[in-house]
């Protein structure tokens, strides 16, 4: 994929003054004007999106104020309620959905990844599987949520399955990249020393890709945690449903409690995941 970058020869000749050199600088004005014109056109076209309200007059500032005050005065009874209604349990449920969703998603993504890597299968087949992955990725999460609720009934199980299908796209894309980066020479040398297929996989392939795979999964777990809020909307468990419910009832202190819990959890997980991935990148 990588092409050699063409560099223009420098206009510098011996005996040039600074002024002459400056005059000979690359002239970019055609590109710059073209980009500016396209940008201006895009802005003009898309700025109509900012007027598309349905005309209902709401006092935006009053709502904004009450949201902010709700976030700063979260309902402590909800935040420190250790039953299944409270924030800690909901966060645990969200965490579990994201964790198992990532794991199941990884299992589902592995065949797609190997069948989509150009160094494993011929290019046309790889292209077909990549298109399938792209199609899987395009369907919004709540559509999957509705499909899975038919299978399992509403609840966190449906959320887990939705999360795993939604993870396939990104996980297999990253897996494909690490598989395509595999160093074939190692396999050749294992071949030459008479290793069996299993040994080749165990000592030739697994050590090369395991760190990359783990790093991808940790990153995806991070993202899934954020996306689980979507699931609540269709009744597929997690913290989204109580959050949206509290907001629709204008109970900003409850919404604030849930948001504060969620933000803290995501920040902690993000910190952990960055630390772990840094260690993986350096090779522990």
């Amino acid at each position: 994929m990588k092409k050699e970058k063409k560099t223009k020869p420098s206009p510098w000749k011996p005996g040039m003054t600074i002024q002459e050199m400056y005059e000979a600088r690359p002239k970019m004005w055609i590109v710059v004007t073209a980009v500016l014109v396209i940008m201006a056109f895009l802005i003009a076209w898309s700025s109509t999106a900012f007027k598309g309200t349905d005309g209902t007059e709401v006092d935006g500032w009053a709502v904004a104020k009450s949201i902010i005050s709700g976030i700063f005065h979260p309902s402590t009874s909800l935040l420190f309620n250790f039953t299944t209604e409270g924030v800690p349990y909901l966060l645990l449920e969200t965490l579990c959905i994201a964790f198992l969703g990532t794991l199941v998603g990884a299992v589902l993504a592995i065949p797609f990844a190997f069948l989509g890597a150009t160094n494993v299968v011929p290019k046309p087949i790889a292209l077909v599987f990549r298109t399938i992955v792209m199609a899987i990725r395009t369907i919004p999460a709540f559509v999957y949520g509705l499909m899975f609720i038919r299978v399992t009934g509403p609840g966190p199980f449906a959320g887990l399955l939705t999360m795993s299908v939604c993870s396939i796209g990104m996980i297999s894309k990253m897996f494909i990249e690490s598989i395509e980066d595999l160093d074939g020479r190692i396999l050749e040398s294992l071949d030459a020393s008479g290793c069996t297929t299993f040994q080749k996989i165990r000592y030739g392939i697994v050590p090369q890709i395991s760190a990359d795979f783990a790093s991808t999964l940790i990153y995806r777990f991070d993202m899934n945690l954020r996306d689980t809020t979507v699931l609540g909307l269709v009744g597929a468990g997690g913290i989204g449903a109580p959050l949206v419910f509290a907001m629709n009832c204008y109970k900003w202190d409850q919404a604030g409690a849930i948001l504060v819990g969620l933000i803290i959890l995501i920040l902690i997980i993000e910190w952990f995941s960055n630390k772990l991935r840094n260690r993986l990148a350096r090779g522990i």
Partner: protein
């Protein structure tokens, strides 16, 4: 980890020259144990059940099956919401990415020497990034009313946080020589930033913004679910009416749009690098 090494003693080898080296015990069993415990807890909490999946798994294909054949007669009513979605992503990404530049400058430790400002601005980025897009969209619909404005705002917030974080990390790695030279010549910080740092980070910044825009098209498609305009709106209502052939048509159009935009952005990013 020190405790782990105390329980499982490292193996000792004596090399030919008499030097002793230690091989620490493998961490794999510990990692596996943690994963196993986490899985068991998760299975308990979420009610994961393979037999249900095996028994009722075919139900998943029922809705998918009803989407085919898609209803081509519905295409004319898709264009409006589809263009709304694209407009929302373009204007949201543009506004978010532009606001990210000055704020990212405030978060870079090599330009701003005040620790308090850096910490506060980075916290702002972190919080904006953790807020799920759907939640910001919902809040925005309360403030700006139902419609594409709310969607654009929430996309702008997400883009701002995502591009901003990558941008300040990038600014911290630039060559500071030109910046110092311009400051020494009497430029203000902002002027020196625009003339010396910005050209260095511009390709990376544009490429990140394009990548973010790509993802935003997908997010924008969901936002209609909370009433923030775009294709999600009709998707949601058609699902509600169980017009699955129309849902299929919407998804196909959405897929084609996403593919076109992804290739366009991929091509542009290749040009940039």
């Amino acid at each position: 980890m020190a405790l782990y090494d105390k329980i499982f003693k490292p193996k000792e080898y004596t090399l030919a020259n008499g030097k002793k080296i230690e091989e620490k015990a493998s961490r794999t069993p510990l990692v596996l144990l943690i994963l196993l415990v986490a899985s068991i807890v998760s299975i308990k909490v979420t009610g994961f059940n393979l037999t249900t999946l095996a028994k009722r798994g075919n139900q998943f294909w029922v809705i998918l099956g009803k989407m085919f054949p898609p209803d081509p007669g519905y295409i004319p009513s898709i264009w409006g919401p589809l263009f709304d979605t694209i407009k929302m992503s373009i204007i949201g990404s543009l506004v978010g990415a532009l606001i990210a530049i000055p704020v990212a400058m405030l978060a870079s430790s090599n330009i701003i020497k005040n620790k308090v400002v850096i910490v506060v601005v980075r916290l702002l980025f972190s919080i904006a990034r953790t807020l799920p897009t759907l939640v910001t969209a919902l809040i925005a619909t309360f403030i700006f009313g139902l419609g594409t404005t709310a969607g654009s705002v929430s996309i702008a917030i997400f883009t701002f946080a995502y591009v901003g974080k990558l941008l300040y990390e990038q600014i911290e790695t630039v060559d500071m020589g030109p910046f110092e030279a311009m400051e020494a010549m009497g430029c203000t910080k902002v002027r020196a930033f625009i003339e010396s740092v910005l050209p260095q980070v511009l390709p990376g910044y544009l490429s990140n913004s394009l990548y973010c825009f790509e993802g935003n098209v997908r997010y924008a498609a969901i936002l209609g679910y909370v009433g923030a305009g775009g294709i999600g709106l009709i998707l949601n209502s058609e699902i509600g009416w169980r017009n699955y052939s129309r849902v299929g048509m919407i998804l196909i159009i959405l897929f084609i749009t996403v593919v076109i935009i992804e290739y366009l952005s991929y091509w542009l990013r290749e040009k940039l690098s």
